[in-house]
Symmetry: D2
Subunit: 364 residues, 4 copies
């Protein structure tokens, strides 16, 4: 008796549209109680005043509440990433864990979830947060039955941020890493990413200082994807990797884009399951393709391979929107689909201007 | 004694920055009197209130006026395309025509320019305009020494639009194709593109009616790139192709993207001069790469390969900006550079949602 | 035994924040069953991809559903207007109708609601819609106990729009007023406004033709406020006016702004209940002030009193956002508060570039 | 023989349109050599990537260069403020100084200009800059023949900012006030404003510390209007006030808006020359009105008179654009015109969320 992950990639016509999920539930193809996580790519601006994320979560909760046992709803990790710039397409990724009596096979896609304790405001964006995320990552790995850090290919963290009230509660500006809400989002994402890097052995503990967070971009995780949300006080960690405690056809691997136009890194990743890949997944490869999860951001240097970009100087469009659309275009060209989970805000998640990229596919 | 095209791809730090051009002139690498055309990718929004195009042209004219004979300035075709969304990089493409006594070789990059007479407002966006552009395209081909339409790979047209004054002058709304300035830009670009299609034999004359312009997207040219500008009354046509009257190392070819994520079409184009191409130009291929000129737009159906896009519903960012950034990301991934001439507004320029793409490279 | 309107102007921290309403209900200051209408000014862009309106309605419904009898929720008119540009402040306006045994006084604020039948797609944006809205306006007046059209000061209509499916269902493009979703919103708002104008005797029936809707801006209502929503098939009409069947301290009056800077028209309106008004409501006037409901839009001529405005040429910010912020600033200066219900899209609602403006206040 | 200021308020159809100025020169109504300053309100976003300012200055210089003696062009202060949000109208304000033999009258509008030495990068945004601006303000007053600080009503400063190169040249991050270009603009404007406040006796020297700049918003000048520009290394100061060394009909006065909706403060200012003012300048008042120069910004507290505003949370539109349009609407309502010089970025220029406002009018 093994565990098995099932993934449903389902389109939405807006953040309130959960009809595709309910239809699969209605047909018995999704068991509500088996849902472990739902990722959503929604069509807001992905910045401060993006209400599509909250609306999507509220819509999911309202739809699922009558269908799951009391308390179960809160155990489903729901991570919404705003922003479908360019041709990116709004969609849900529903992760189920089911029990299977399929014969044992090679290591299959495993999912594990854990949470830290509530963070004190003074801990947010600092080494203390990274430490807590490190522990929760290891817990989530254990929960997923993944022993080897090399078998971890994607770690999603939702983490808290600093608000005016939290700063006041902490004892004022001198007690916290920053008083800027938007800056605290970046620091919190960065601290979470470095916590993942610690857990996965991507950085040494001694290099990690409060000052390095949000500053020393040479430190990063190639498997982290972090988002900050005002509704949390703790950090919620979901680990995706390969484990022989899990069965079924799904597999995962990852690559790291060195910059915003690092198509070869992604091509290598895709060619891993599509030998016929050339500039785009072959028809056979596209049949096996399940999901791509990537981070995108504008390089802080203001250049890509020496040529100036204008993302950081554009006062009409946020650089995160530019970066998602641009990297999204490259990834859509490579995969041949626009339902991709490309999110912004990649502090310490891959190198400056680049980002991690994980692919999930179906074997045989 | 043959003709030879030289191309200089030069970065700019803003629309007023012509320093890189002046530096080359100062070093004798550009002869001002030899300049036939300057294309510029500037960092505005590419829409109605984009002043970077006019500012760039004014800057070019102010800089070049003292360096060329009287009257010569007006014979240089200057086409600015606004919008460097995502990681696209602002740059100039300076086209020179020089005389060379290099030994005859295979057909090389040729450039020819022609102009129509001034259009009456009632002709704009209609078959009459297409007819005029057809003639000018054939003239420009002749001027370039290109006899075979198959040897034409890129035709740039700058065309006029309708303003309130022009509508009034024409005798009012009933006399013109539209009274909307923004709509007239699309119709003018579309009529120009269909004029090119006529000249190149891509469509039959009998299918072209006033009603089809801006409506029947099954009619298109795979080599047209058109932009409308308020400052013109005539259409300015620049043809790029291959001709054995021209010498030198530069070559050109084109492909047509069937949709916004048609990486394979571009890969085929690039592999034509870079046998080592896989997901991106190889280092050797990048050395030989000179320029990529492409059109991008949001599909009117609101979907890409069946998945919904949100470009046409976004009231914060124009769909043309979304499309340029997204397709630009794919093209930058494929070429390994962000200095690409990607422009929007692709009516009848390639299929709906796709667009033409021309590459220029240096032979061995 | 008379009827009495109570209004609660309550701030919100986001479209999901109904806490202020629930708090009043908790303290017995609002009786859920007495709620007739809720207007909300939410902080989206007020354009196509504004999800704050739907999110606000979903939040209201989720909060009120357990508190009202079955079916009652659908009888509450909920009208959300997106866009708090400039310093405008997101807020709710909750309208209750209660029974009172207060002694009869002068005519007081009355509210009446009515709905048309479902519209056929072919009727949307045409005289047929105006006719239906005319009837519903008269019904809502009757329901409110208002006999004299001069006693009507504000009519809010929510009306349907055309979608691709509705167009198809109607038999294709030739059967409907337009195939453009965004254009159909304007035509539907305009037809509704002219229906109100018919009901209130502001225009003569014979001047109203399909061709005049969305074109002849000399036809307008000075009391109409219309918004189009994809979720409706019928039109929902709420009338506010004065009636001696109603009691209590609330009063209403209206004015019409001739253009976007017609401060004197609004000053006259405010001075009607604040004799000490000069450039702004006096402290006493502000105490009595309850709500201001106004429409704003960019003049189609592109000028305000002869000076060019840039709202229609700005491809970065929609003209409706510009107009709301600008007129909102003038109205906030005049009232001394930023919780104002200023909405955009004012076709046939006041003269071109101007708009209706209604004030509600509390008598001594 | 006295000095006299003449002001020409002239509309523009775009940043390149200097035709109205040239027309007045052609008719002998403007003497090019008499031009002391040109203020321009241009239609860009007023933020980092606003090229309308540079384009306007380039257009002015190209047009005036042939008309003034060598060197004279550089002595004309040209200050462009980007952003005509809402209904604000792009226009020029040309200030001439002419010699007149008009009989002596009451103190009239005087203009004086001065420049600081070039600032070291380490001085920018610090007390050192304020000191230099204080001196230059006093010099400009002297040049204008204004002895009494109470007679100064408007001080325009153009000041430098920090770029990456300047930071590097200064010896790196530890040597400068900030490494962020956008932040340095605010600090430079703020330091300039506090320099003006020092000169005018609005603050005491001992309260001014480096730490207070950009932080202690209780310190401000009610007559400062500062803008930062990348093209300068020094600060350019233009003082407007009243002096009995000047003659002619022009007068100036100022008020301070306590917040973004402080209509009464502006009404008091306007009523000073228009006794018939009520909610808007009377026709007679409008005839005498010449110019209004004001600052606008979003209050850092996120509220206006206790009600939340959304300007600081809007990731689609910069808060400076929101504030200009909103305050612009109020000022346009009060004056009855939209050709107003409303600019953003009001650090230490008026109280937090409010701003200085100066009016110029024509006597009798």
């Amino acid at each position: 008796m093994a565990r098995e992950t099932r993934i449903h990639r389902l389109s939405m016509s807006g953040p309130e549209d959960v009809s595709a999920i309910l239809a699969r539930i209605g047909r018995g193809e999704i068991a509500p109680a088996a849902i472990r996580a739902i990722l959503g790519k929604t069509e807001g601006n992905g910045c401060v005043n993006d209400f599509t994320r909250g609306y999507a979560v509220a819509s999911l909760k309202a739809a699922l509440a009558p269908l799951v046992p009391p308390g179960a709803l809160d155990r489903i990790s729901m991570v919404m990433s705003g922003g479908t710039e360019g041709g990116l397409s709004p969609h849900w990724l529903v992760f189920e864990e089911i029990a299977t009596d399929a014969p044992a096979g090679p290591p299959a896609l495993a999912i594990g979830v854990a949470r830290t304790r509530a963070l004190a405001p003074a801990e947010i964006g600092r080494v203390a947060q990274a430490e807590l995320v490190r522990e929760a990552t290891l817990e989530a790995m254990a929960e997923a039955g993944i022993a080897d850090t090399a078998a971890v290919h994607y770690v999603q963290v939702k983490c808290p941020l600093l608000t005016a009230e939290r700063v006041a509660h902490a004892g004022g500006p001198s007690a916290v890493a920053t008083t800027s809400m938007i800056k605290s989002m970046g620091l919190s994402r960065g601290a979470s990413a470095l916590g993942i890097a610690l857990a996965l052995g991507e950085i040494e503990p001694q290099v990690l200082t409060d000052a390095a967070i949000g500053d020393d971009w040479s430190l990063w995780s190639g498997r982290a994807s972090c988002s900050a949300g005002v509704e949390l006080e703790d950090c919620e960690v979901a680990v995706l990797g390969l484990s022989d405690a899990w069965s079924g056809p799904l597999r995962i691997a990852h690559g790291v884009m060195a910059d915003a136009i690092d198509a070869p890194a992604v091509a290598d990743l895709l060619a891993g399951f599509d030998p016929a890949f050339r500039a785009q997944l072959s028809p056979a490869g596209r049949d096996r393709f399940v999901a791509l999860l990537a981070k995108a951001e504008a390089s802080t240097a203001g250049t890509i391979r020496g040529a100036r970009h204008t993302m950081l100087d554009d006062s009409d469009i946020s650089s995160t929107r530019h970066a998602r659309g641009f990297v999204g275009g490259m990834l859509a060209g490579l995969t041949g689909t626009t339902e991709l989970f490309v999110s912004g805000g990649a502090e310490h998640q891959g190198p400056d201007g680049g980002g991690p990229c994980a692919a999930i596919w179906r074997e045989g």
